[in-house]
Every structure is written in C-alpha cells, then in structure tokens.
C-alpha cells in the first residue's frame, strides 16, 4: 500500500471477503517434528479465522530464532527482523499505522536476553500490540545454549555443568514493570487454553504479553515432559473477568479463582511454586497507552478531501 493510500485510510471498509484457514497458510513450516511452535501457529491461524482478521491489515513482527520464523508461516504482512529488536520494530509499525493489527513473535533469547531492555520499555509504553514469547528455555536456532529462562542446573553447550542461576521468570518480571496491562501464561500443549489466551490477548487494548511454555523436543525435551503427562501439576487461573475454558474442566481439575484485576495477588501467584500456573495473571485496560497519548489528531473531513484530491491529481493526465 502506498503512503498515499494510508493517508486516505478510513478504517472501516465494506468487505464481504471471508477468510478460511487455507488463506492463512504461508510457507511450509520448517520446525522440527513435535516442535511446540507448530501448535502456536495452528492456534493463531484458528484465531485469524474466528476473528476474521484481514491479511493486509495484519502484521507479524519477529526477531531471530526458531520461533521468529513465525511470520513466514502466517500469510499476512511479516517482518523477520533483528535478534532482540522485534518490539521496537513493532512500535514503529504500530505508531505509524495505528489501524494495523500487530503481533510480535519472540523467543526467550530474543525477549529476555538480547532484547530485554525493549521488553521493559514496551510494557511501560503499553502500545496496542500482542506479544507472544515462545519460551522453550533455550537458544534453539543456535543449537542449545542457555538462555535466561533455562532452569537452574540444566546443562547446555554454554553451561556444560548446568545453568548456575535460578531462571528468570518472565511473568514475574513483566508484572514488576510500571504500567503493565495484560500478562498471561499458557502452554502450547494445552491447545484450548492457548487459543483462549491468544484470543483474550488479541482483544485486550494495550500491550498484551503472553508467555507460551513451549516444548523443544530437540534440546529441552525433559523440561515440560512431566507437565504434559500430569495435568495435576498445572493450575489454571480462572475467573469471569479473566479466562474460563470449560472444556478443560475435566482434565485440569486443579483450578484457582483469580481476579486478574488484583495485581498484588497476581504477583504473589507469579512467585515460584511447585505448580505451573496458566491463565491471565493481570489485566487492566485503563492503563495509559503511549500510542493513544501520542496519536496524531484525527483528520477533519476537509483535510481528507484535500488529501484525496492531491492524490488524484498525481494521476491527472
């Protein structure tokens, strides 16, 4: 779309097109068999159909890593960027084209290591972008080096005798940043929960941060093995102000009512415990948004007509 068109964008267009799953399939995924990123892609394509995203107004921005191949596999606009810099790129996209729906796909290295500074600031800016942290607890693409989220003691090629420090917890960290507005955790091996979480994140107005626990059968197979087999070590955070996923009630009986408006309780729940908590930890749509505060004033009808005439004049013979 040319810059000229963007000036004339009216937002709501008459559109009778219907997009099905097929319309969202981009390139053939090149992830390993059993890679959790595949489930995330499937959930996202389902969401795109359910919400009838429009391909030309949907953008996926990523960094570098296995997970950052995501934009290639979603048939929408994609920006496969620079390791660690997905969030500032997405900021640029969203601020200059606020009408676009912007998703960000990052790995744990991308988000919590090399790009950590941007993560912190993006939470505070609270720009209306949905970020997916596909956390396999390792640098996957470069073949098994410890990341900040690698569990203590887990051996890798850069920590052959095991990671020295306790893992950084992205949920704790995000909840600690001023102006956080949507903080959720889900697991790609619980597709119903993953889908419901992505959906809630998409609908949230402001910066939505979703940490997706992701299996990497290649390098960190052991980490989530038990959690996959034993739903009892997973605790679902449920609430009518947050998420309920009734179809999981029979399998995931370990549930806790948590009102996501309660930040103190969210922080308490994010502290390390022997269960893995999935759900919306915190949500508050009233928090200030940089994209709104800094938005250019709406164009008046006269301005729009003038711009349209200018645009048409360019084609005059």
């Amino acid at each position: 779309m040319s810059a000229g068109c963007s000036l004339l964008w009216t937002g709501a267009e008459e559109d009778d097109r219907v997009f099905d799953l097929h319309d969202w399939e981009g390139a053939e995924p090149r992830w390993c068999p059993g890679c959790g990123d595949l489930s995330v892609l499937t959930a996202m394509q389902r969401l795109a159909v359910a919400e009838q995203f429009v391909p030309e107004t949907t953008v996926f921005v990523s960094g570098i890593g296995c997970s950052s191949r995501f934009p290639h596999y979603m048939k929408a606009y994609g920006f496969h960027g620079i390791h660690g810099r997905a969030l500032p790129v997405a900021t640029g996209v969203k601020l200059s084209r606020p009408e676009l729906t912007v998703f960000v796909a990052m790995g744990d290295g991308d988000c919590t290591s090399i790009g950590a500074a941007h993560w912190l600031h993006m939470i505070r800016y609270n720009i209306d972008v949905t970020a997916l942290l596909m956390d396999n607890n390792i640098y996957g693409l470069t073949k098994k080096q410890s990341s900040p989220t690698t569990p203590q003691g887990f051996a890798s090629n850069t920590a052959p005798r095991g990671s020295w420090l306790p893992a950084l917890d992205p949920i704790q960290a995000t909840l600690g940043v001023t102006n956080a507005s949507f903080v959720a955790q889900t697991a790609e091996w619980v597709p119903a929960h993953l889908y419901a979480t992505l959906r809630a994140a998409y609908h949230h107005k402001g910066f939505s941060f979703v940490r997706i626990l992701q299996r990497c059968p290649q390098y960190t197979d052991s980490i989530y093995k038990e959690a996959v087999r034993k739903p009892s070590i997973v605790e679902l955070l449920v609430h009518e102000n947050g998420l309920t996923v009734p179809e999981l009630d029979r399998l995931y009986t370990n549930q806790r009512r948590h009102d996501p408006r309660d930040l103190d309780e969210a922080r308490r729940l994010a502290e390390a415990s022997d269960v893995i908590r999935l759900g919306i930890f915190f949500q508050d749509e009233s928090r200030p948004r940089y994209d709104l505060i800094r938005a250019l004033p709406q164009r008046t009808v006269e301005e729009k007509i003038r711009l349209m005439n200018e645009e048409l004049d360019r084609y005059a013979v």
Binding site: S113, T142, N157, R161
Partner: protein, 386 residues
C-alpha cells in the same frame, strides 16, 4: 601434538594456550563452536578462565572492556550481526587502549539473512581502532590467535583475528598444537601498563576537551604505526619456536611477474592453486596475500608489488557506493608512488554471502585483467546474474 580440528576449535585452542583469564560471549552462527569449546574447557578446569555467559554481544565486549581494564587477559568471539552490535564497545576497546583479542568468523550481514562467509562485517569495523589479522588456514588461525595476544599487549591495542565462515570455521584440517610450556615462554602473563588498581588509582573514560582529544588520537595512530614493526618481531619470535610465520603481506611466485592477484582469507588458497597452473604454462603471474588489514601495511605492499604492471584485487566484501574495500585501500596506499611505479589496479567484487569462488572464477579474472588496453576500474562485479 597434531590434531585434526575445525577452524573454530583452532581459535579455542589458541585462547586456551594463551591462558585467557576472562571470556565473555554470546552465541551466533558460525562462531558458536568457539565459545562452546571454551566453555567446556573452563567447565572441565583445563582452562582456568572466568567464562561469562552474557545477554548480548554488546555486553560481551563491555565485559571484556571491564575485565581488560582490571589487567586481565580477555577474549571474545562473534560474527556478522553480533559484531555489528558490538560496534560502540569496539571503539571503547580501541580508544581505551585495551589489549582484548577477539575472533570474528566472517559472515554476511542481513537483511538478506545469510550465514555464509563475507568480509564486510569485519571490514565495516575498520575505524574502531582494532588491529585486524586475516587467516587462510586453521594452522594460521591457531598461530595468529596466540600471536594476537602478544601483539595486543605490546602496543596496548585490541586485535581481531578473522577467519572465513565454514571454509575455515567448520572445516577440519590437521593443525600442529604447540606445547603449553612453549607458548608460556612466548607469551608471559599480562603485565598491564595501566589498570584499575586500588593501590594506584586511575579512572577510565573522563571527558577530554578539544585541547587534548587530538593527542589521544595521535597516540592511537602512533600505536598502530608501531604495531606494523612489532608484528614482524612477534612473528619472528614465534617462528623461532615453532618454525612458522606468515607475514603481514606474503608474496607468492611474484618474481618477474607482470600481473599479481591480491587476496585475503581462504580465497588465497584457491588462488595459489590457480597461480601454480598458470606458472606451469610459463605465464608471469603471481599472488600477494594481505594478512594485516589494520594497520594497513603500506610499505610492505609497495615492496611486494614493485615492478608489477597490473594488480587484480579479489574482494569478498564491498562498501556500497564505492566497491571492494581492499582494492580501495590498496589504491590509496600506492597512489603516492611515482606514476611509472604505480600498477594499474582492478577491483573485483566476488563471492559475497558465501558464493563459491572456484578456480574457474579466478581464471576468468586473470583472462579479464590481462586483456590489452582494458581500463583499470574499482567496481568489477564478478558473476552477477542479469
């Protein structure tokens, strides 16, 4: 001891034998094996260094800067995007006069994501105050890594050891690994001239006003100048111990030659083979390999190219809007010669992003450069698809 090892491990061995004390790094293809091997050596206790697993390359170089400022022998390695991210700290190391050694495995820069070899990443760091040494074989990689520490600590400048992605980094060759005792004789523990020391307090990084800044830069230039001669001395010493040396510039079969190829890195090995064949046919053609890019070995190159009519520079790198970087540097190094002693310089840009440079490609360049009356040009792109 002789071992068959990949170029990345030749770096690791060099660093281990040099008894580096602090290693800070972030992984990136194709450098990763260097630091993985070093982290293993540290974990097993073979190498008594502190291995710092940092969160980015910018932090890796920052950690090396901090460590080096305390007097420690510091090392890191990177490639491409990682090296680019270090850029700000590279200046710090250079102008801070910190003798850090790093390995750069040449890899093309994105976008146009590409993991294969291309020298533009290291050459783009030309003006950061680092000595740069390019390597042709895994043996040269190991020897250069050890010599780099010696040179760095003599002139208080950081040194970048540069090797080609995959052609060296991931290719196994037999490498002679010198004994530790011998390396210890060559490279004693670092004795920093300036360091952060509670008994002798100094601080780094103060504001320098216009009336002193230029002098700081002059000292840097002076140290670079000094490094040219010092490198010869370091090589001579190393050669007396192990019998190997490379030269800042090496001439190969240039006696009586009319035409010379100028190369760096692994293209040199292919070019040697091509030169041998042309020599067998009685053609007067030779090769000059540039190992040292910073400081630029102007005098050695003038000598090596004396009497040559035409020079074909093979650049696996390029500066957009100009052309091959070695060619441009060489042209300016020779420009001050009297016109009759100045060869015509033909700059060929080739092999970018790891595109293969085969003997046939080099034959094509030779055919081109000796065409009668062909004007010298800086921007001859080889094999670009229409």
């Amino acid at each position: 001891m002789r071992k068959v090892i990949v170029g990345n491990h030749a770096v690791s061995w060099g660093v281990k034998l040099a008894r580096a004390e602090v290693i800070a790094a972030y992984p990136i293809t194709p450098q990763t094996q260097i630091v993985e091997e070093l982290s293993e050596m540290c974990a097993s206790g073979e190498l008594k260094a502190r291995f710092i697993k940092v969160e980015s390359e910018h932090s890796a170089m920052a950690a090396c800067v901090g460590a080096s400022a305390t007097g420690a022998r510091a090392f890191t390695a990177s490639s491409s995007q990682g090296l680019a991210l270090m850029h700000e700290m590279l200046h710090w190391a250079g102008s801070g006069r910190l003798p850090i050694v790093m390995a750069d495995v040449n890899r093309a820069l994105g976008p146009g994501w590409n993991i294969w070899t291309d020298q533009t990443d290291s050459l783009a760091q030309r003006d950061t105050g680092w000595i740069q040494l390019y390597c042709e074989t895994n043996q040269e990689v190991l020897d250069t890594t050890i010599m780099a520490f010696r040179l760095a600590e003599q002139v208080d400048l950081p040194v970048m050891v540069v090797l080609d992605a995959f052609f060296l980094s991931h290719t196994a060759e037999p490498v002679d690994i010198p004994d530790q005792e011998l390396v210890d004789r060559f490279l004693p523990p670092r004795r920093a001239r300036y360091k952060l020391d509670v008994d002798d307090p100094h601080s780094y990084g103060a504001l320098v006003r216009p009336d002193d800044y230029m002098e700081m830069r002059w000292h840097l230039q002076d140290a670079m100048h000094d490094a040219v001669a010092r490198f010869d001395g370091v090589e001579t010493e190393w050669a007396t111990l192990v019998g190997r040396s490379y030269g800042a510039v090496e001439s190969y079969r240039t006696e009586d030659a009319d035409i010379a190829l100028v190369t760096s890195g692994t293209i040199t090995s292919t070019a040697r083979h091509v030169i041998d064949q042309h020599r067998e046919n009685g053609e007067k053609i030779g090769l000059v390999k540039i190992k040292m890019f910073r400081p630029f070995p102007t005098d050695a190159l003038r000598l090596a190219l004396a009497g040559i009519d035409r020079v074909a520079v093979l650049d696996r790198n390029f500066s957009p809007g100009q052309g091959g970087i070695f060619a441009a540097e060489l042209r300016s190094a020779l420009y001050d010669l009297p016109a009759e002693d100045r060869p015509a310089i033909y700059g060929y840009v080739l092999g970018l992003g790891g595109r293969d440079v085969t003997p046939a490609v080099i034959d094509g360049i030779i055919d081109h450069v000796r065409m009668p009356g062909i004007p010298a040009r800086a921007d001859l792109w080889v094999g670009v698809k229409a």
